[in-house]
Amino acid sequence: MRLKLFVPLFVLLLSFCVFTACNQQKSDEQSHPAAPSGPPAAPIDPVTVASASGTVHFDGVAPATVPIDMSNDPACKGDNKAETLVVKDGKLANVFVYVKDGLGNRVFAAAANAMTIDQTGCRYQPHVAGLLVGQKLEIKNDDPTEHNVHAIGVQNTQWNESQMPKAVPIEKSFDHPEIMLPIKCNQHPWMKMYVNVVANPFYAVTGPDGKFEINGLPPGDYTIAFVQEKLGEQDQKITLGAKDKKTLDISFKEQ
């Protein structure tokens, strides 16, 4: 191959690699999911509301607990076990469960109360949280050391603020739905939690027993989504009649 051809051919190859392999971040200018159209949904009648509850299981051998090294800050004296995959007696904790579809074009106002996250023992409490679009998020620092709170939104604007011990809580809100929005601390790289911003108040986070419960759902056909930070998402369809109380169990397994 003549060398004069080599450079332009190589540049073409490189451009192809960049085009196909680049992991473009979505910007806020990209389209957000449009509000569902169609005739207005009927208001929710509290007399007929139903509920869905259940347990999220983990199939297979529970993974060994991963220890965290907190030695880079002597003030960090928290529980030093990773929360990426928390399995106890076959039950999976920290799974975000929410109504993905089925509520029609109902619009729900942001909750008046704030969702509070606390930084204690150099960990975020809770590890997974849900809040409504526009709802206030309050972040406290009860640790004896400084943190920086970095929200890495894709659909929402990124922000990064430092917070001194016992400082005034940081108050933020998110304008767009986004599932598993990471919040991390760059001073303590093991510190990470996930905020799930949703458009409706029908969501839950499984506890150590793997259980969840979603109340107040109007009768209808729903898609319930179960999202775990490492194991991904699974969806289940459910039909709820008036005053139904249905159980919905699901299992995740390590990929």
């Binding site: 392999a21 971040q25 050391t145 970095h150 760059n186 093991w190």
Partner: protein, 332 residues
């Protein structure tokens, strides 16, 4: 090129050659040692920067150009702040040294192109500082972070080049030469080597800053290996008697082999073993920082080789005059 006249291999320089050579610039040992010092400190800065990324500490100091609201107060050095703030302090020191170098070079060096190289070094380090600030202000966008990596290594190459150009060998000695009649020429190979290394640098930086998958950087590695090996072997075998060419070629080949091994190690610890790591682990940090550092040395060695090849291995072109046989003519 300096006003030094090209001398044939092994011949004692003539009076005219010596006279012309003395018009370049006198050797300034202090200036040269200062340039070497800056190159060394810049390497330390590259390592400090790599530690920031490998420890995921890039945004531990959330503001710029201040640090936690202050231009001069030292923050509490725990966690990621240790890496990020120390990187900023070393960067400020390098910037300060570069100002001194640019002024000193402008005043002391008689070579016009060297004066402007000093200015270029200053411009590069200022650009690098601004890029570093932008990475903080825009939350580590992959493109800007990768540019910061590339410009940082470019500045390191400039610093090494200035150290070379102020050295005793470059300033005082008449260069030993050998005409290059092969195709592709050695200078072409060295320039292509620099190009492919920059491509590899950008692909690696884009992966490290989460803007791209790992496979383009890995796929490009064999191309880098083949081209650099070809260049090094050509330089070492054809021009083994020219020390100024042979030494950087050997260094380049050694660094290439080291870098390929470190690349394998970095991939294993970071991509294979570390994909589910909850925090940066020692093996991941050590291998990736070493890979970045040796990559910088490799690029600098290749640039130095290219400079030396340009000086010592002029290219022969065939010149045909009507009615005569073609003859080799050395490029000016």
């Amino acid at each position: 090129m300096d006003s030094s006249v090209v001398a044939a291999r092994g011949r004692k320089p003539s009076f005219e050659e010596l006279a012309l050579k003395s018009l370049s610039t006198p050797y300034n040992a202090a200036h040269h040692r200062f340039a070497v010092f800056i190159a060394c400190i810049t390497f330390c800065l590259l390592v400090a920067g790599a530690l920031v990324t490998s420890n995921d500490a890039g945004l531990s100091v959330p503001d710029w150009p201040t640090s936690f609201g202050s231009l001069y107060k030292l923050p509490h050095w725990v966690g990621g702040v240790r890496y990020e703030h120390s990187h900023r302090m070393v960067a400020e020191f390098v910037g300060f040294l570069t100002i001194i170098l640019a002024v000193w070079t402008w005043r002391a060096d008689k070579r016009r192109w060297m004066k402007w190289l000093g200015v270029a070094a200053l411009g590069t380090v200022i650009t690098q500082g601004v890029l570093g600030g932008l990475t903080v202000l825009f939350y580590l966008p992959p493109a800007i972070s990768s540019a910061h990596a590339a410009v940082g290594q470019t500045f390191f190459c400039i610093a090494c080049a200035i150290a070379l150009f102020t050295g005793h060998e470059w300033v005082e000695e008449v260069p030993q030469t050998a005409v290059d009649t092969q195709r592709p020429t050695l200078i072409t190979l060295t320039l292509l080597s620099i190009l492919i290394l920059y491509v590899q640098l950008v692909l690696g930086a884009m992966f490290r800053h989460h803007g791209m998958s790992w496979w383009p950087h890995v796929a490009d590695a064999p191309i880098v290996a083949i081209l650099l090996t070809w260049t090094a072997i050509r330089a070492m075998t054809q021009y083994s008697k020219i020390e100024a060419v042979r030494r950087p070629a050997i260094l380049m080949l050694g660094l290439l082999i080291t870098q390929l091994c470190l690349g394998f190690l970095a991939f294993t610890t970071r991509v294979a073993w570390g994909k589910d790591a909850v925090q940066p682990e020692t093996a991941m940090i050590a291998s990736t920082v070493a890979h970045v550092a040796v990559g910088a040395l490799l690029l600098a060695a290749t640039v130095i080789l290219a400079i030396q090849v340009w000086r010592h291995v002029p290219v022969a072109h065939t010149k045909k005059v009507a009615g005569t046989e073609p003859k080799a003519v050395v490029a000016a």
